[in-house]
Subunit: 282 residues, 2 copies
């Protein structure tokens, strides 16, 4: 059985940076260290960090008096303020591309645009980004799809920002709809290059193989999106978090398997999956 492993699979720049910062912080730590929410959407990596002593806390008010790591997805403006008021030492592992999106949202809010964020309403990255536009004169809307965009009211000026892991196609469709809703449309294309590169490569491989595996946290937005892009092109697409989820019957009569992984999937998990698939194919 042929295995086609995506060249661009696993950790992106922002995740690599956040992970390194977290390990460095915990290794040099004096006393407790906490991460506000899981640092990245990989339960396996979060478990490794927990073994080293990084405790995940969901809300600022639950933090002990400890150093705190801000996860790669960032936090809301209110949470950041609360952290600063608590006076705790902050290790800010927010992905620089997410930070850029937050800054664009803040600018659009200040300049009175209605903000349209293209992304998933309940994702922490999205909640973080839109929080920076609140308090401006404009409204804030989160749209996940063309259908959501079509339900928007007519606006004067729309400022548009995307969750960094969105697909360019989805962004394009929302832009098209918004263009018909306003006189001025200002779009910051904040989709990260790593996202686009991974998505394009996943689509190319999905077309070529008999079966596609997408590895990554089930809570990972970018992995879910990779899986849905692949599924549209290759009905035999499976999203697994680890090698333990692989099932031998998937591979009966399969000659070629494509493998890709989300931006928050550690290398060791990818390697384990590749090894397991190779064994199953023998």
């Amino acid at each position: 059985m042929k295995i086609v492993l995506a060249q661009h699979a696993g950790f992106c720049f922002g995740v690599k940076r956040a992970t390194t910062m977290a390990f460095e912080a915990v290794e040099g730590a004096q006393g407790t260290i906490c991460s506000l929410g899981p640092i990245i959407h990989s339960p396996q990596l979060v478990a490794r960090l927990a073994e080293k002593g990084v405790q995940v806390v969901e809300q600022v008010e639950d933090l002990p008096d400890a150093r705190v790591i801000v996860r790669s997805h960032g936090v809301t403006a209110t949470e950041l303020e609360a952290l600063q008021q608590r006076g705790v030492a902050i290790v800010d592992a927010t992905c620089p591309f997410v930070k850029k999106a937050q800054e664009h949202a803040a600018l659009l809010g200040r300049e009175g645009y209605d903000l349209v964020l293209v992304g998933e309403a309940d994702h922490p990255e999205v909640q973080g980004i839109v929080s920076y536009a609140r308090g401006g004169a404009g409204q804030v809307y989160i749209v996940g799809s063309r259908a959501d965009a079509e339900a928007l009211p007519a606006c004067g000026r729309i400022g548009l920002v995307a969750q960094t892991t969105q697909s360019q196609t989805n962004l394009r469709e929302v832009v098209e709809v918004c263009l018909g809703k306003c006189r001025e449309l200002r779009v910051f294309n904040t989709i990260c290059d790593a996202t686009t590169v991974r998505q394009d490569e996943a689509a190319r491989i999905a077309r070529e193989v008999d079966l596609m595996l997408v590895i990554g946290g089930h809570n990972s937005a970018n992995t879910n999106r990779l899986a849905s892009i692949s599924l549209a092109l290759q009905p035999r697409t499976y999203h697994v978090e680890t090698a333990a989820e692989l099932r031998p019957e998937w591979f009966f009569g399969v000659d070629s398997v494509g493998i890709t992984a989300g931006a928050s999937t550690p290398r060791w998990i990818i390697d384990e999956v590749v090894e397991s698939v190779a064994k199953l194919g023998k």
Copy 2:
């Protein structure tokens, strides 16, 4: 023979305004009065104004020492400056929507965007609008179509403005392409509502009738666009400037005729065409 006359045919707000200003100016004129270029793209109306004493001059340097009417399409920043330096009295009949597009172009130029103007490169309105962005840090590009947009280089920040008589479809396509060429795309949708309303109605009527007539100057951008929108839906579409161009053989076996007219087509010309068609259909 049934005649379906578009409700939104003929003079738009800007043309009506410019025409009224021109007639008022010439009626109250002391001495010579000139129009820099034809005031609107209707040779018949320009001829009527000429009878009253409005002389069309193409270049500032050819102007006698006279009052000058700036046409509905506006002039370039350089021409306006030259007029001001000449010290002649100016009657500015620039359409307020065109003026708005000029202001947006100026803003985008000042703020360092590369300007993309969606329109016809040799149209005076377009030459006027882009002139206000020149001198900024960014480049200036005029694109007529999706294909033109695809040939653009990658840019950092694109500011986009449209000729007021463009179709929304063409704008949408150029926006889609530009979105893939830059990190920030700021679109001022400067297509005039009157244009959209006329185009939508022309498309609706073109689908319903056996033959479509589009009346307006052969040099009129918005009339040409109405004709091309109609032609795509109704192969029997004819663009005529006056009733004199109608040919009886067009109407053999035709049960219904749709009629629309560009934004610079005077009412009396529309009425003449309707009357002639009614006679031919008897």
